[in-house]
Symmetry: C2
Subunit: 328 residues, 2 copies
Amino acid sequence: MEEMLKKVFSGDRRTVARAITMVENKDPRRYRLLTGLRPQGSKALIIGITGSPGAGKSALVDRLTTEYRRKGLTVGIIAVDPSSPFTGGALLGDRIRMQQHATDPGVFIRSMGTRGSLGGLALATGEVAQILAASGKDIILIETVGVGQSEMEIMKIADTTVVVLTPGAGDSIQTIKAGIMEIADVFALNKADLPGARRMAREVRAMVETNCHGAPWCPPVVETVTINGQGVSELAQAIEKHCQYLSESGKLEEKRRQRVLDELSGTIVSLFGEWVEQQGLQQGPLRNAARRIAAGQVDLYGAAVAVLQGIFAGGFKEEVYYFGGQDV
Amino acid sequence: MEEMLKKVFSGDRRTVARAITMVENKDPRRYRLLTGLRPQGSKALIIGITGSPGAGKSALVDRLTTEYRRKGLTVGIIAVDPSSPFTGGALLGDRIRMQQHATDPGVFIRSMGTRGSLGGLALATGEVAQILAASGKDIILIETVGVGQSEMEIMKIADTTVVVLTPGAGDSIQTIKAGIMEIADVFALNKADLPGARRMAREVRAMVETNCHGAPWCPPVVETVTINGQGVSELAQAIEKHCQYLSESGKLEEKRRQRVLDELSGTIVSLFGEWVEQQGLQQGPLRNAARRIAAGQVDLYGAAVAVLQGIFAGGFKEEVYYFGGQDV
């Protein structure tokens, strides 16, 4: 493990890939790995890129990567694939375009699926970002399709979140829900050469202003065209400005503290969930309880609370407000 | 609560709606409610309908509902909306078409979002199905878009899962991943009047046969056209046949037993997760640990394990294989 850590720190690509696979496969050794990486992993800037399918996120990530590389910064890219059994193919196709950076030693690209990691995808993505940061990458770009709440959760691990919109394509102002305003630090209005882009930019800016009323940060709306790279350096500037704001206002510190708390909570629940899953696979109290529930002898919620009460050394009982304070 | 249970059993629509809202909002009283409903809730048949966006699932659910109503059966419909902030609008539009059944007292339609219930959507959907079953519905149709693993999880609560495919639209044989073969009990090849449908039906049947090799149930492929209802009663028959197979082979019993175990595990982890979330909101051991992690004094995984060890009355320590048996 010492050897592995040293190789990750030195940026050895194969070791970095192996470390990420450990996280993806929920290998128990990942806990020791991440513990060793943590002290080194907090200097990178994490940028999230989200938007509807077909908004051109991959092309934008590609252009941003070129921009950062030109500035001499190294880049890690995490492409989160919701692994739909129906749409998997299309996403893959998009990402093949990014392969122009695949031979650049200053860029590391990794796709992540959701297999098995129900609800744990945000946690796993954060862990992969830590590995890439520890391997010396200055910028971590996380790209995910904004389909479903779980993909939105991933954006919480980013310092700056860019929401990519396109004119037409159903991304009309009416369909942009409150959730997006909450997570967007910067808007990229991509395909800004398409008809309707001007009007949409105006509408988005009007919406942003309405929502800002005196807030210390108001998301800028940057128009981009990925075919010719128009607006991409402006986008990078807007991201940098947001990072400056975060850092100067103390929000970066606050964000990272909250992230540690989220990560700790997530890890505790995830370890506990793995333990429960293990219990369910073998004969024992959980299966006995399930049998008695199925036979109508006990009720499920009473049994669940009883199992928890049996586990807790003390403290859970007091916290059981679920039955209105009554015992079951 | 007694009053509420009585009204749910009698099928009172407003009370059923209120009960579902309780589940959706994670109201603590839902535990008592579901406990009261359970004894009545196991007779309904639960049918899952999944497929890619635009496959015509809603129209098919609509047609199936008409078919079941003609047979004198009552129907509960749960439309699971992944609540994407980007695509929300389109899904809603689809479901408006189902409103022709909205005035039929033998049909109850409910949309469910994913707000806040990260990973818990399958659990919540199962709970809503229980409420509808307890209210006297004979058939529960659960419709969800097959985007993301979490939506696939929902299908596990169904007795019979129908996967809806369409010719063209990217649903070529190549893009149908193994996951679908695992969950499909019946294939509906919808829009069977489109060009290419014949060929696709042949391909899907060939794929099914290759995958079946001697399995006791081989998913039939039913061609449907929702505009004129063609193939819909054949689809209902295929579903019925699968239910017969489940019941005669003892698989139904087995499936329901597994579902009780999953539900029990899910409830335990969900209660535990709520408890951890509560702990994170207040000053206490969790926040202290997070502070010490952020300051580099302790490592996150060690802290997580220590918190769990503090919680467990005994037993967790033995289960900690995460550090290879070593204490931390």
